[in-house]
Symmetry: C2
Subunit: 96 residues, 2 copies
């Protein structure tokens, strides 16, 4: 499924709730899901880990919907097949 | 672009670095990008905001690559067109 289609699915499922909650409230939920992803990483439960990856993507899409940002367009603009910093197809930036 | 194709693009660009850094190190970078997204939300700079959305998705894909998780498959398993909690196509869960 395209990134934009998944974002559209989240819009259909949740925009009536996300739009009422607003950008900051939705960002707080995204933070919560990122924290749950971290806990799942530590737990070693792979099924739970997969669910938490899904939740982070879902809330990232919800936040993009509230802000009227096209996540697929933004991602391909920044990462058009090469590293945005070094310009290589296999990044050769010095590690920060 | 499909979610899986974007994850594959991140693999081509960054897996040689991500795999050396490992899951926890890559999660820390994801946290950093989520924090930058929060700052961009506050700044009101929409171009920067779009870039930060792209970076969060990119690092989420990097972390999924390190853990050998298919982000698209995980996302569609959890969100197959209906809310995983209430089962509706337009979520009617009570807000937490």
């Amino acid at each position: 499924m395209k990134i934009s289609e998944f974002q559209g699915l989240m819009r259909k499922l949740y925009f009536h709730r996300d739009s009422k909650r607003g950008a900051y409230g939705t960002f707080i939920w995204l933070l919560e899901e990122v924290a749950e992803l971290g806990r799942a990483l530590a737990s070693g439960d792979r099924e739970n880990l997969k669910d938490e990856f899904a939740d982070v993507l879902a809330w990232l899409c919800s936040l993009a919907n509230v802000l009227n940002i096209d996540l697929e367009e933004a991602s391909l603009n920044k990462y058009p097949g090469k590293c945005p910093k070094c310009g290589k197809e296999k990044c050769s930036c010095p590690e920060a």
